[in-house]
Subunit: 376 residues, 4 copies
C-alpha cells in the first residue's frame, strides 16, 4: 500500500506539490493498445487548475511527459511512466505551515507519521496535485476500457446541498450522462449547475469553501467481474476512491436509502427480457448498484463519492503553534479552490478506470485482440 | 485480493456454507502474545446464529479448532490457523437455487464468475458464515491491540430507520460504549433498542427483513498511524469492511453531513490543552472522524457502516428459472435472519481490529514487549 | 511474504510439526477443474515419510482432508483448503532442543526471530512436514497444468557426489523422465540409483547424512510465459524453490558451466524447422534452460536445485546450552532421513507446478475451457 | 510482480533502453534519513558504461535527477523518485533486430510475450540499462543500512574460469573486501584481476564475450532477520537477484560443495565465545552462508551469483528472419561489453541492499532514530 495500488495492473504515484516533479508508473498494461495522447491531455484538462473562476489561480500546464511504455503510439506492455514538472510554485506561501498546521489537512498528521521529515510545502505528497498523474493513468485505462465496451460517466450530484437531477438507478440517462464531461459545469441539469456555481462563488467571497457529492455510472461491464470478499468490486473501488484526498464517504447503488427499505423492496429481481437467454437478463430495479456479492451483475454500476469542503480557507482559523506551544490563529495563504468537487469528478473517473481495468484483467475476460491498431 | 487480505499481517479466509469446514489463517502476528481463548469464544458468540429471536434458527456451536500458531496459549508468530466444522446444514433447502437465483444474492453473479462451478449450497463461499472465522481472527487481534492501548467499540446506530442516541464525535461516551458489547441488544439507548427489536419482529412476521447502520469508535490509536494515498486508514478500512457481505455504504466522521458544511465549519482545529506539548493536542471538533490525510490524528476514529436488509426473505419474489428460460416466482426456504445488523456489529469490529493491527505493525510503533506474559 | 505466496494464484501454508494439524489454502484456482483426489494422494505418497529404508521411521498417513473449494470433484474457484492431522508425534524427543539448538537448523534463528515464542517441537513451522500440504497444492496444480499441455518431470541428478546420467539440455529424454516418478528410486540410471542408495545407507550406518541435487524439466510451456525483471520465470521459481527447507543452490540450464563458456558458444540460436512458421522455432542448444529475459522460449525449461545434507544427524555435535551459557555436545534424537533428496523431488515438482500455474494465469494464455469435465 | 518488487519497501522500475528516460520509484523508505547524493553518484559510476576498456563505448552520464522524496537532503518517507534521461542512443544499430532476434536475448521472447508491441530498440525494457535506476535505489538503501551497522561488500570471484582468491566463509577478510569497490578492477587478488582483464580483452579481440561469478558478503546483519518459507532471506534475495539480466545461477554459503559433504561436516555449530551471552555466539563454520531456516544467524551472509557471458557478440551467429521465415546469419551491431561481470557487481550489491532494508524494516528491528541528521 502507501502510494502504490493494484492486484495485476500496478500503479505507483510519486511527487510532492512543490518538488521538482510528480508522476505515475503503470505496469502490466495490456500490450499493443493504441493511446491517443491528445485525448489523454483533454481528459487531464478537466482536472487542471486555473481554468475556471471556482478553481485555484495556480497555473500549471500539467502536461505529462511520457518517458516509457509507449512506442509508436501503442503501449509496449512494459511500465508506462509519465512525469509532470512543477512550475508555478509559490513555496513561500507555505512557510508558516511547518509550525502552524492547517486544520483539516495532513500538515500535523503527516509530520507525526514522518517524524517531521516530510516535505511540508503545499502539503507535499498529500497535495491534491498528485491526482494529476493519477488522471494521466486513468485516462490511458479509459481508452483501453472503451475498446472492451466499458464506459465511465459521472456528474456532480450535489454541491453545498444543491442537488442535480436524480437519476433512475435502473435506467440511468446514458445519452445525457455522456454530455456531462464536455460541459463547463459537469451536471445533468444546467440550472441546478448555475445554482451550484453561485454557491461556490458565495463561499469564495466569504473566504470559505463548500463540498459535495459525485456520482459515477459505469456502462458495459459484463456480469461476472469481481471476486468474493476482499476482491469484490466494492472493496476494490473503495480501496482506490478513498485514497483520493477529501473523500470521506462512499456508497453504492441507493446507498443509505437501502438501509431503510425492507428486503422485499430492496432486492433487485432478475428478469428475462423475453429471449430466454442469460445474455438478456435485466434486473427490475438497481438498488444494489449493479453489484451482488462483490461481482457485477450486468446492470449499470453506480456509486456516490462524498467530497468534503476544501480544508484550505482564507478565513482565520484556530490552530496551534508548534514552536511556541501556544494556541494561535492561522490565516492560510496560497491559492485554493473554494470547491474541488468539479475537478474531483475526473479524478474519481480516473480511479474507477484503473480499478475496472485491473478487475477485468484478473477476470480472464479481457480481450487482448481489441487494440485499436489499424491492422485489427 | 479475493479471500486474502493484508499488507504485513495477512489473512486468508476459506470455506463454503455447506462444505466440510470453514476457517482462517492469520500470518505474521507478533510472537509471544498471550491469547485468552475463552475471550475469543465469547467474542465469537456475539456473531453466532441461533441465539436470539431475530437471528436464524440454524444452530452452530461455531467454535474454532486452532490447528497451529498457538503454543502454550501464546502466539508463535508463525501462521495461526483455525477451522470450524459445518454441522447443522440443510442443503436440500437450497436445491432450487442453482436454477432460480435469489434476488440480492450472489447466486447468479457467482455462477457467472465461476462458470457454474461454484458451490451453490447456502450461498457457498459468499455466505455470511465465512464471517465466523473472520471473527476468530479479529478476536485475536483485538486482544493484541488492547495491550497497545487500542480499543474498538461500536453500536447499532440505526435499524429500520429507528436511530440510537447520537454520539458527540469529539467526545464519544466511552464508558457507555464499552457496555454495548455485553447487552442483549447492542445499542446505547435501550428504549430505542426495544423499538428496533419490535421493528425486526414485525419484519419477521411479515416474512420480510430490515437493514440498518453500525457505528464504530476506535480509542487510543496514536497519531501518525496510516500512510498517504492507498495506505490511508480510510482506504485500508474500506478495503476490508466492504468485503463483509451486505455492506453497501461506508462513511467517516460526520459522513455526508460534512459535504453540506462550509470548510470553516467542517475543519477540525487542533488545540493545545494547556501543557504546551504535542502529546496534549486535541481537536475542538471531530468531523473528520480522527483521520486527516489518511493518518490518525489522535482523536477517536469514528465510522459508519450501512448494512442492507437481509436479501433472503420468505415472501415470494420475482426471479428467473435458468432451466426453462422463463421468469418465475421464488420462495426462499432455509433459515434466515430478519435483520443481520446486530450480528454484523462484531464482524465489523473484527474487521477493524485486523486492519488496525496491520496498520500499527507497518507503522513501526507496535511495542513487541507488551505480550501479556507473566514475565513481562 | 512469510508463509504465503503468489501474484494471482495465492497459497497460504500453515502448521507446526507437532501441533494439531498442518494445511494449505489455495485461492484463485480456475473454476470447474476436475481433480482426481486419488491421483493427488498418489503424488503425496512420493513425499510421505516411513516408506523406504532411507526415510524417517515416522509414520504419517499424511492424507489431506479437503474442507472447501472442491464440489462434486471440481474446483469451485473459491479457496481450496486441506488439513492434515499430525498423528505420530514424539514430542519428548525434542525436549532438549529449546535449550541446545541443533546445528544447521532454525532452532536458534527461529527462537531469536520469534523472541522465544515459536513452537520448538520438531522444528515447529520450520519443519519439512509443512511440505506435505505444499505437495497437496502442487498436485492439484499439476493436474490443471496437464490439461494445458504442461508437464513437470524431474530426477535425482546427484547424491553424495554420485551422478545420474546427464541429460541433453536441448533434447531431454522425455519418455525416460516420465518413468522416474514411478520408480522406487527416482533416477534415470538405476545402477547409479543403487550406488546412491548404498551411499545413503552408508551414511545412515555412520549416523550421518548426505545431500544432493535435483533436476527438473518442464515440458509444453508455450513461449511468452513470464515477465521482465521481478516477474521473470527465474525470480518467480527461485522465490518459491528457495522456500523449501534445505535448498541452498539453484541454477538454470547449464548453470555455472555457462559462466565458463564464451558468449558465442553459450547463446542458444533459434532456428526454423523448415516450416517457416514461428510455431516451429527451436533453439539449436538450450544452455539458457528455456528462458530468455525471464520469459519462456518454447524449449524445455530446465533447472537444478541443491539440497544440503540433512541437518539432523545422530552423531554427537558441538552446540551451546542456552540455559547454562556453556558450550556442549548435542545428540539429536528423533527420527530423521539420512537423505531427503528423493523425498524433496516431488516437493520441488509441486512448487514448480504452483509457480507455473500462477505464471500461466497471469499471462492471459490459460484456456479456461479445458476443465476435464465430461461435458467438454 | 513484473517491474515492481517489495513487501514493505516498494520499488518500481521503468524505462526502455532507447526511450526518453528510465527511472525508479522507491516507496516506504524510513523518513528523515540523510542521503549523500555525491556518494550515490559515486556508487552509480561503478556501474556506468564507457569508463573502462572492457565496457561498452556508449557514454551515458547516467546521473539521476531526483524528482521527489528528498527534501533538504533527507528522505521525506513519501516516494523517492529519480529519472535518468537517455542520451547517447544509436537506435539505427538495432533496426534489424525486430526481424532477426539476437540469440540469448529477450528479442524473441519479449516479442511473443508482448504480442509484438514491445519497444525492440536496444532490448527495450529488457536492457541492462534498467539497472542504472536500480543502482540509484540501491545506493540510497546502502547509506541507510550503513547507519544500522549493515554493510555490503563483494568481489568478482571468477571470470572466464580464472578465480579470485578464495575467502574463508567463517572469517571473510573484511578489510580487504572493503577496498574492492575502490579498485580499478574489483577483485581481492590484483594479479588474478589482471589475468581476468586479459581474458576479457582476448574475448573482445575475438568479437566474443565471457561470463563469471560475483560473490557478495553482508556484514552486521543481526540474527533473526528473515521469515520462514517464502519470507526467508534466500527466497527474498533470489527473487531480486534473479531479476538482474544475465543472472542464471545463485548459491548460498558453500553452494554445491555442501551437497557433497556429510551432514556432520556441513552443519555449522554455534559456540559461545567465552562470555556466556547469546550476543557472543559464533558458528565454528559458515557453510550455510549465515542463514538457517531462511533467517540470519549473525554470521556474515555470503552468496554467489553466476553471470552468463554477454549475449551480444559481434561474431556472426545463427538466427532466424521472421520476415522471410528463413534461417539466417546475424551480425549484432551496437556497442556491447565483452564482459559485464565487473559492472554487474554494484548492481548485485544494490539489489541486495534493497532486499536487506526491506527485510530489516519488516523485522521490527530497524532503528528509526539513526538518521544521520546533525541533531542526532
Amino acid at each position: 500500500m502507501s502510494s502504490f495500488w493494484g492486484q495485476y495492473l500496478h500503479l505507483s504515484l510519486f511527487g510532492e506539490s512543490h518538488g521538482d516533479g510528480i508522476g505515475a508508473v503503470l505496469d502490466n498494461l495490456p500490450p499493443g493498445q493504441l493511446i491517443d495522447t491528445d485525448e489523454v491531455k483533454a481528459f487531464m484538462r478537466r482536472r487542471a487548475p486555473g481554468q475556471t473562476p471556482w478553481s485555484t489561480a495556480r497555473k500549471e500546464s500539467d502536461l505529462p511527459q511520457i518517458l516509457s511504455g509507449l512506442y509508436r503510439d501503442h503501449t509496449t506492455g512494459t511500465p508506462l511512466s509519465a512525469v509532470i514538472r512543477n512550475q508555478d510554485t509559490h513555496s513561500q506561501d507555505y512557510s508558516n505551515l511547518e509550525l502552524v498546521p492547517r486544520p483539516g489537512h495532513a500538515d500535523l498528521t503527516g509530520s507525526v507519521r514522518y517524524r517531521g521529515a516530510n516535505d511540508p510545502r503545499g502539503g507535499g505528497h498529500f497535495s491534491g496535485r498528485i491526482t494529476a498523474p493519477l488522471c494521466f493513468a486513468g485516462a490511458v485505462c479509459k481508452q483501453i476500457l472503451a475498446r472492451q465496451g466499458i464506459e465511465i460517466t459521472g456528474h456532480v450530484k450535489e454541491i453545498a446541498g444543491i442537488q442535480d437531477r436524480e437519476i433512475d438507478l435502473a435506467r440511468p440517462p446514458v445519452a445525457e450522462l455522456r454530455t456531462v464531461a464536455g460541459k463547463a459545469f459537469p451536471v445533468l441539469d444546467d440550472a441546478r449547475g448555475q445554482e451550484m456555481i453561485d454557491a461556490v462563488e458565495a463561499a469564495r467571497m466569504a473566504q470559505d469553501s463548500v463540498g459535495g457529492i459525485i456520482e459515477l455510472v459505469f456502462w458495459g461491464l459484463p456480469a461476472g467481474i469481481g471476486d468474493p470478499m476482499f476482491g469484490g468490486l466494492e472493496p476494490r473501488l473503495a480501496s482506490f476512491l478513498y485514497a483520493i484526498p477529501a473523500v470521506k464517504a462512499l456508497t453504492f447503488g441507493s446507498g443509505f436509502d437501502a438501509m431503510r427499505r425492507r428486503g422485499s423492496e430492496n432486492n433487485d429481481s432478475p428478469q428475462f427480457l423475453g429471449e430466454g437467454d442469460t445474455l438478456h437478463i435485466r434486473n427490475k430495479t438497481n438498488h444494489g448498484g449493479g453489484i451482488d456479492g462483490g461481482i457485477s451483475n450486468g446492470m449499470p454500476v453506480i456509486l456516490q463519492v462524498g467530497i468534503k469542503p476544501t480544508s484550505s480557507v482564507s478565513l482565520p482559523q484556530d490552530s496551534i503553534d508548534l514552536s511556541t506551544g501556544e494556541n494561535t490563529r492561522l490565516v492560510v495563504k496560497g491559492r485554493h479552490d473554494p470547491c474541488i468537487v468539479p475537478r474531483a469528478l475526473p479524478v474519481c473517473e480516473a480511479g474507477a478506470a484503473i480499478v475496472l481495468l485491473d478487475s477485468l484483467l484478473t477476470s480472464g475476460l479481457f480481450d487482448f485482440d481489441k487494440t485499436g491498431r489499424d491492422s485489427e
